[in-house]
Symmetry: C2
Subunit: 330 residues, 2 copies
């Protein structure tokens, strides 16, 4: 295992120390590294909290700040945070208007966020993200997995929370944004969890895992390495068939997301391939992001996320945001 670390036990805490120090204008750490939260919480605003296993950076800590999350709870690498983390975060960022949890659909996360919601004193609602069209159940999930589309949900709900929308409205918006979003990924290599020390899965020199999960979970099938155009074709087809009639003739937000080990050159090349295929099927990209946003440590590969836009979602996507990983209009 070749990693820039001191000891596997301290990877997370040392990384969080560096993260919060590099962004001390925006973020502060909760006690015992339980969460990162905005330096300046906003009274009267619904608090937005997400979290999950670490190793997907910048998700979620990198999306804490104005116009997005109020706090994020980092678990150990690829391991759910514990309920006391969410509970401590909820107390710390409570603005008196209730709390919305945004949770990726994995059994550990769902269970632990639910426990925290039951233990909390304030009102809590939850949006579950499950944008991955690759498989219907997986190693760590019953039902579809929540993957890179979570970024879109956090952004639009975060913008609406900043505008003062109430808890029930934000929950409804989050569900609607999630329902408008589909993703699919491909891995060219595995990643190595520091505490494990060996690759999560084996992939032959000329193989790829189509529909891979963000923890290296199996996808739809393992096939011979294909061209960028063929991979994009497979992703676009999977996503658009899943949308069915909804996707025709509209505009979309597209996230061409790197898993951590693929050069930006290749991500833009994949974006180019996906854009042409989408255009041919009547979907115009009106908003986009290309880069490493929801990663799997150093895994090589990428995912395509398509979110169908309407006037409200487009406006909320465009709204000002100031976080470590996304910033505009501020």
């Amino acid at each position: 295992m070749k990693k820039l670390i001191n000891a596997t036990e301290t990877v997370l805490t040392e990384s969080l120390d560096g993260f919060v120090s590099a962004h001390s204008d925006l973020l502060t750490l909760g006690e015992e590294h339980k969460f990162v939260r905005r330096v300046q919480p906003k009274a009267g605003k619904v608090a937005l909290i997400s979290g999950g296993g670490s190793g997907h950076e910048p998700l979620h800590g990198g999306f804490v700040g104005h116009g997005m999350l109020d706090a994020a709870c980092p678990g150990q690498v690829f391991t759910s945070p514990t309920p006391d983390q969410m509970l401590a975060a909820a107390e710390a960022v409570d603005g008196g208007a209730g709390t919305l949890f945004i949770v990726k659909n994995y059994e550990g996360d769902v269970m632990n966020f639910e426990m925290a919601a039951e233990m909390a004193t304030g009102e809590i609602m939850t949006v579950l993200t499950n944008d991955d069209v690759a498989v219907e159940t997986s190693t760590f999930s019953t039902g579809r997995r929540g993957v890179a589309g979570t970024l879109f949900v956090e952004k639009v709900v975060g913008a609406a929370a900043e505008e003062g929308r109430d808890l029930a409205a934000l929950k409804a918006l989050g569900d609607r944004a999630n329902a408008a979003t589909r993703s699919m990924g491909v891995a060219l290599t595995s990643c190595t969890v520091p505490a494990a020390g060996t690759p999560t899965f084996d992939l032959g020199e000329s193989e790829m895992e189509l529909g891979v999960g963000i923890h290296g979970e199996p996808g739809r099938r393992r096939v011979a390495l294909a061209s960028a155009n063929e991979i994009a074709e497979e992703m676009v087809t999977a996503i658009l068939s899943d949308f069915g009639d909804q996707a025709h003739g509209g505009d979309a937000f597209v996230l061409l997301n790197g898993f951590g080990g693929t050069p930006l050159m290749e991500l833009y090349l994949m974006f180019n391939a996906a854009e042409q295929l989408l255009a041919r099927r009547g979907v115009t990209i009106s908003r986009s992001l290309v880069g490493n946003y929801v990663t799997s440590l150093e895994m090589a590969g990428c995912s395509l996320t398509v979110a169908l836009l309407d006037d409200e979602l487009r406006r909320l996507w465009d709204a000002p945001v100031h976080t470590p990983a996304l910033r505009w209009g501020v």
Copy 2:
């Protein structure tokens, strides 16, 4: 070779097509993919042009926009652009106030930018960056290599150009910013140039290349993989010894730069290590960036850049910027 590409011959052009399409609000392509430039050049402003081999994305194209570069000329991967590219870019972004080339110190780049400057009709000056303290001469360079510190030079000179400073003043500022900047890198793995198809260099399972160049050029020495703290110690020591007395008691900009294949978690952990070591030697980090900014395709590893700040450099760093890879205040 596992890459998300269609054919090695079209990697660069397909990637540039995707890049410009994803950022069409900011950028446009020159004919024959010779350069990318700002959509809206500014009359009366000195034009800033950089470029170099591709594979270091987001450098340089990702830094084209308000407050930074006017154009960037991408060569093939790790190969200098040709003089006709710089010439075409200079013509396209000429604002009537002269042109400043910002060139990383590699023989091919220096020669080709010089030829372009000789062929051009307008007034051209050049800032050469050579921030890498690792070695005094290298595979592709006579004298020190220009590496990640180039980002700092492009940012501060870009801000000053936006304010209307003249060509000679910008040349002097660029030289001063470069002189205030030092970098050093480490590689844990090689990268693979698409056209070559095999790794640029071999590195044993428990080895690292200390002082590596951004094309995988040899560094100071090849040693056993060390801890993050030990690596940070080596980098900080190399950089601060090179600064000598200049570095005492001031504040600095630090770029903890990923080479493309190292997870963000590890980069923040390295930032944490570097910050503590710098503090112990009297250098406070007042501005920072952590992430993949000057990459070597999918190489695992990172570099540390330290730029000593004064009031002017700090103010220019903070000035608004709006490019694909850096954005604030706009």
